[in-house]
């Protein structure tokens, strides 16, 4: 029982990381039809810059951790906004070419990360409290799991409030549904494009900081390995659906942890789940019926 609880919470923690990547992917795809392969690079850059900063201002304190979260979000958001502006916008509406430039960017970015920080893992150190465990119904759960889950939940809450309560949020929701009609109401939808990239990049940057504590290290390949599961999550959840991404993230994370522990086949089960979802509901759990 205590093992199961540990697996459950760890799985939700992993799902929280997936969600931080998948939420941006899903919104970007939903609004713009762009599959963003560079999203992992946003995450990795956020993680590396935060790691550098925390070494400068002193690792292991709560203040440093919170500052790095802010830095991760800022770095990821700015990188993403620049990407949208310089690479995506010139290829407006040419979806395949847009995918291709993000592929090229991710290749180049990972190569630069390797050049600057080396190919080896760089180990991170969070506040002392992270390394301790908390007793949950007999299970000794590492504290960093809770931090990951809480921060991801706050990001989810923030994004939902933004989408529901602000005019730009309204434009994004309308644009995900029918972009050309938004322009036909006299709204310049391109501003929303930059915005979703920025939000997605910031979420990924936060994800990078959290992942570096969850896994205990940063490496140039960090973003790429999370990205693939985030892709799976967005397809299972339904492209363009934030709620779908949230649910699928948790389902995939938990499933992966549990099967990995008992049978060592977590990654396969996830892909089988993907195949099953596609065969029964090609639009994903919460996807629009196209």
């Amino acid at each position: 029982m205590s093992t199961l609880i540990l697996l459950l919470i760890t799985g939700v923690g992993l799902g929280a990381l997936y969600f931080l990547v998948a939420s941006g992917l899903s919104l970007i795809y939903g609004l713009m039809g762009v599959l963003n392969f560079a999203h992992g690079a946003f995450l990795t850059l956020g993680a590396f810059v935060s790691w550098e900063m925390s070494r400068r201002i002193g690792e292991g304190t709560w203040l440093t951790f919170i500052i790095t979260l802010v830095i991760g979000a800022a770095v990821g958001g700015v990188f993403a906004a620049l990407t949208e502006f310089a690479l995506i916008r010139p290829l407006y509406n040419r979806h395949i070419e847009q995918v291709l430039v993000t592929v090229g960017l991710s290749l180049a970015a990972v190569a630069i990360f390797e050049g600057v920080w080396g190919t080896d893992s760089q180990y991170t150190k969070g506040p002392e409290w992270f390394t301790r465990t908390t007793d949950v119904l007999g299970a000794q759960v590492p504290n960093d799991r809770f931090v990951t889950i809480i921060v991801a939940a706050l990001v989810l809450l923030g994004v939902v409030l933004f989408l529901k309560k602000t005019r730009y949020g309204m434009i994004i929701r309308a644009g995900v549904e029918n972009r050309s009609m938004v322009t036909a109401l006299g709204i310049d939808v391109r501003k929303a494009f930059t915005l979703v990239f920025t939000i997605g990049g910031a979420a990924a940057g936060i994800g990078g900081v959290l992942a570096s504590h969850y896994f205990g290290y940063v490496s140039p390949a960090l973003g790429g390995s999370l990205l693939i599961f985030a892709f799976i999550v967005t397809v299972i959840g339904g492209l363009g659906s934030l709620a779908g991404a949230a649910i699928a993230s948790v389902v995939v994370g938990v499933l992966q942890q549990i099967t990995n522990f008992y049978w060592g086949m977590g990654d396969f089960v996830v892909i089988v789940l993907l195949a099953v979802v596609l065969l029964t509901k090609p639009t994903g759990l919460m996807g629009k019926t196209a």
Partner: protein
């Protein structure tokens, strides 16, 4: 009913537009007078919707000129054309189904002082349903939302594409009434298959075939009364069939 002899609000010359390489608008010329309702008629698939969409740049324009109130707009992006004072009511209503009625209307507001009162008077139903998701409304109510989005702002021109399509007769009359009220203050270019509605509302008419204008008239009623003309251009008996049947053998386009 004959429009006053002043500058037209919209002048389209040699307009061409293509979708995926198919020429769907093939050199269209016409003018829309600055008052009243002008009908854009033709069989299914002759490019009526494409013409409307290419005027506001929703379809890539490949040639020709468009003047709105004397200003060239054929190279202006969609949202800027709309901001210059064009209201667009699309063929299939295209309300944002996940957004509430209020949000749909809020999104459409361009002016500092939108014509809330007019819209609320015309469509009292929408006031009651302000917080309902637009996707949960009936087809008629969705059409009201779509019309309301256009009527909220002060426009120079309304482009209204098949507003009565698929609606019950009672609702058709409500929509026609709303258009008649709107037409008192703004010129309308109306695509409409329901010839009874055309008869009721339209002053002039423009008839398309094969992506081109084949006939113009200053009196839609005279045109509809001319059996030979309606048979030739619309493929229907003159005394307006309510819903023109889909004419799959026409093949006159593309």
């Amino acid at each position: 009913m004959i429009p006053e002899n002043i500058e037209p609000i919209l002048r389209v010359q040699g307009l061409r537009a293509a979708i995926d390489g198919s020429q769907v608008v093939d050199g269209v010329d016409f003018e829309v007078p600055a008052t009243g309702i002008t009908a854009l008629l033709g069989r299914n698939g002759v490019g009526k919707t494409s013409t409307i969409k290419s005027i506001i740049g929703l379809i890539t324009r490949t040639g020709g000129t468009i003047e709105l109130a004397g200003e060239r707009i054929e190279k202006v992006p969609t949202h800027k054309i709309i901001q210059r004072g064009v209201g667009y009511v699309p063929e299939d209503r295209e309300v944002f189904s996940a957004l509430s009625v209020a949000e749909n209307l809020k999104l459409a507001e361009r002016d500092e002082h939108p014509n809330r009162q007019l819209v609320d008077e015309l469509f009292p139903d929408l006031v009651k349903r302000a917080h309902q998701a637009a996707g949960s409304l009936s087809g008629g109510q969705q059409q009201m939302v779509s019309l309301a989005r256009a009527l909220l702002n002060d426009n120079k021109l309304l482009l209204v594409d098949e507003p009565t399509k698929g609606l019950a007769p009672k609702i058709v009359q409500e929509v026609a009434q709303a258009l008649a009220v709107a037409a008192q203050s703004v010129p309308i270019l109306l695509v409409e298959q329901n010839l009874a509605v055309v008869r009721q509302l339209a002053a002039g008419a423009i008839i398309l075939s094969g992506g081109k204008v084949v006939h113009r008239t200053e009196s839609a009623t005279d045109f509809l009364n001319d059996e030979a003309l309606t048979q030739r251009f619309l493929g229907v008996q003159s005394e307006g069939a309510v819903e023109q049947s889909a004419d799959t053998t026409s093949g006159g386009m593309l």
